[in-house]
Symmetry: C2
Subunit: 216 residues, 2 copies
């Protein structure tokens, strides 16, 4: 797969550190003379993302956090406008992070097809009491962590007939592995087919715009 | 006001520590060799609540966290079934914590009128970069931190005609001080009047149950 060299460098270093059992830590809250260690999973993904920015500086790796906060991408890979997204999940549960908001993704991909080439760096952690341990790191493209579902061509989070987010496949599981998409194209087709079924429309403006902007 | 002796002991100790500038700290996240200090306000209230449990043990104060997690109360004051609630807000913004979910409170107060006597320990903090500093502590009863609003006899958080939470008065502000309720009774009347206006009903079952259970 065509990952960015900088992403591969990050992935290689972090995988090695994880294998050697070096990516261990946690969250400590202090006020005055008393400190507590936090045993909650809330916000771990965001903490790891912030931490990666500091780790990258220490390791001389040239990525910049997106100052926009919540919005895509988490990091810019400098100089050539590539994107790096950070995800994390508890290996003792299953991958339940949001890949992206479904409708925003349909739209933003249509204006900016290069979003399809974003690299996803994914951290699999275990939380043992308050000790956080990164056991595994993956480097993926979006079509390598997404799949179809029974209800829609693309697996999404839907509640009461409203689609919220694109949800991940279980690409990492030996027991319950789901079939991920084979190509970027398969993913894009599933994305816009899902949109057309969802909105009950025959033609998706976003899909047409995506193809126009891809040809440029 | 009739605060519990244990609450007053906690309040006196923490106020003194805050005045002396000793309640300073923050949140640190570590993985391997890199640590980051967190500059976000997310979850500070919950962290302070957890921290208080540890602080109490160190100070020989006999309170027990509610193992139920999210539900009322945050702490039991041991031996006599009293309640201690913990709230926190950023002094540079305004008090925007949820006192309680409106409908749950209407109901639970009706079954357990002693909830009205819960003590509220409130932390006013400043966050300067990643440095958290408790500047001020208050010990209050619910009617001393709540007030009426233009729309309802009780100030609540309402979105699109749905009432979510009971929201605090600005009891702490010299500039924008709101008039809090004078008595527990005034608060209870405002609570159930709001419920009757909100649900467009003439008689509140919860209010009647509250009075029956209070008389016992």
């Amino acid at each position: 797969m065509d990952y960015h060299l900088v992403s591969e460098e990050i992935y290689n270093k972090l995988s090695l550190e994880a294998e050697r059992g070096k990516l261990v830590g946690g969250t400590q809250f202090t006020l005055g003379q008393s400190s507590i260690l936090i045993a909650s999973k809330d916000g771990i993904g965001k903490l790891i993302e912030e931490w990666l920015g500091t780790w990258a500086i220490k390791n001389g790796i040239n990525i910049s956090p997106n100052q926009g906060g919540q919005s895509f991408p988490d990091f810019y890979i400098n100089k050539d406008n590539s994107y790096l997204e950070i995800k994390a999940f508890d290996l003792d549960a299953s991958a339940n992070f949001d890949i992206a908001n479904f409708e925003s993704y349909c739209e933003s991909l249509s204006y900016n097809p290069s979003r399809l080439n974003a690299d996803y760096l994914i951290f699999g952690y275990q939380l043992c009491g308050s000790e956080l341990r990164i056991e595994k790191v993956w480097l993926k493209k979006i079509w390598e962590i997404s799949c179809s579902s029974e209800r829609f061509p693309l697996k999404v989070q839907a509640k009461r007939d409203v689609i919220y987010n694109i949800r991940p496949a279980t690409w990492y599981s030996s027991k319950a592995r789901t079939q991920v998409f084979r190509t970027a194209n398969d993913f894009v087709n599933a994305l816009y087919s899902t949109q057309k079924i969802y909105l009950n429309i025959e033609i998706s403006e976003e899909e047409e715009r995506f193809h126009r902007n891809t040809r440029k």
